[in-house]
């Protein structure tokens, strides 16, 4: 995917999987945020053998995986912010993808009310969370405290 659409950053299940371990539950569709809009120009996608379902308007990869492409803002973050903070992970040997940074992903899931994903990310990745950074990108102190409360509920945070 990143070879075909270099600026693509995985923002949905694939990012969650990359952070939580590849055995975490997933559907087959992919969500990507794309900073360079010209990379997902319809003609270019068609050249790359991507195809569009004429009934639903949904795009599919050449491997027939449904793909949702975000070009503007996503859960309060611009694709530019998502891209600049993204992390590169190795999926398999010599194959890397760009994924949303953990703290940003937690806030995106929180804003989308995907509470079980927030609970899983905070409780399983507690030691990897940069709380100062998470606070700096939270929209207000209430949102930050709501995430901190997940860590408190799981007995991970003492204060």
């Amino acid at each position: 995917m990143n070879a075909e659409i270099p600026s693509a950053v995985f923002v949905g299940a694939a990012a969650t999987l990359a952070h939580l371990g590849w055995a975490f539950r997933r559907t087959t569709d992919l969500d990507i945020a794309v900073e360079v809009v010209s990379e997902v120009d319809e003609d270019r996608l068609l050249q790359l053998k991507y195809w569009k379902d004429p009934q639903s308007g949904d795009w599919y990869t050449p491997r027939n995986v449904k793909i949702d492409i975000f070009k503007g803002k996503l859960n309060g973050f611009s694709v530019k912010e998502i891209a600049s903070q993204s992390e590169v992970v190795e999926v398999k040997k010599d194959s890397r993808i760009r994924i949303t940074k953990l703290e940003m992903l937690i806030l995106m899931k929180h804003r989308a009310s995907l509470i079980s994903d927030v609970q899983a990310l905070v409780s399983r990745k507690y030691n990897s969370i940069n709380w100062e950074y998470l606070e700096s990108i939270s929209k207000d102190p209430v949102e930050f405290e709501e995430i901190r409360n997940v860590a408190r509920a799981f007995g991970l945070l003492k204060s």
Binding site: R25, S56, A120, I147, V150, F154
Partner: protein, 230 residues
């Protein structure tokens, strides 16, 4: 096994007053429901007893999102919640999950549910954990121990005690998926799409799912017309 359902007024009060969030404080619960802190604590205790609480530490707690399902479905999912609350998790002694081995070992000794069972029915979401209702809980737990499995809070082989009705396996997997909440609710919806006649006992939820299907179909039609006129 007998089940005690949470009072309807507690569920209604929570659904009406608490926004969906990944965690709450006891103060928030008291404030949202307009009750004293001791009463809020009693509410929480009742939710905990019924399996809705997935984490609770010093006045802060996380709930399964299934607590927000229509109240009329609650009697159907309480047995599943109580089974989940009493679950025992296992992994292999060497740290591996041991799912493949457990599936072979336990074949014919009970019924699987949730992740793997839902995937077999729908092929929708990849499974992560092997949930299993043994015909005999102790016997199967013993078989696992004899085959190098140990109990572990992070184990991916999960034994559940048989609580409630198992006469219709697909319906049971559907209710288990609803009770589990989170991504398993997607499994429940996928099951209801495949077996609408079996899952119609979910009442208003079934009605909502049918409406969602209708809107989805109708909207696609509108999109088609819209794109044709551009």
């Amino acid at each position: 096994m007998e089940t005690n359902h949470p009072s309807l007024h507690i569920l209604t009060s929570i659904q009406t007053n608490l926004p969906m969030k990944p965690a709450y404080t006891l103060d928030e619960l008291a404030h949202a429901t307009g009750r004293s802190k001791p009463t809020a604590y009693r509410y929480l205790t009742e939710l905990e007893r019924n399996g809705f609480v997935i984490a609770f530490h010093r006045g802060t707690f996380s709930l399964r999102d299934s607590v927000f399902l229509p109240t009329m479905i609650m009697p159907h999912i309480i047995p599943s919640l109580q089974a989940l609350k009493q679950a025992k998790r296992f992994r292999l002694h060497n740290g591996k999950s041991g799912i493949t081995k457990a599936k072979k070992l336990l074949s014919g000794l009970g019924m699987s549910t949730l992740d793997f069972a839902a995937y077999e029915i729908t092929a929708y979401q990849t499974p992560e954990t092997f949930y299993f209702y043994p015909d005999s809980f102790e016997k199967v737990a013993q078989i696992l121990r004899e085959n190098n499995y140990v109990e572990s809070t992070k184990g991916k082989v999960v034994l559940l005690p048989r609580v409630g009705d198992f006469s219709k396996p697909i319906l049971r997997i559907f209710y288990d998926s609803l009770a589990m909440g989170g991504r398993s609710i997607l499994d429940a919806i996928a099951i209801s799409r495949k077996y609408p006649d079996i899952t119609k006992s979910s009442g208003y939820l079934d009605f909502l799912l049918k409406l969602a299907r209708k809107v989805e179909q109708d909207t696609r039609g509108v999109d088609r017309i819209g794109s044709n006129t551009r």
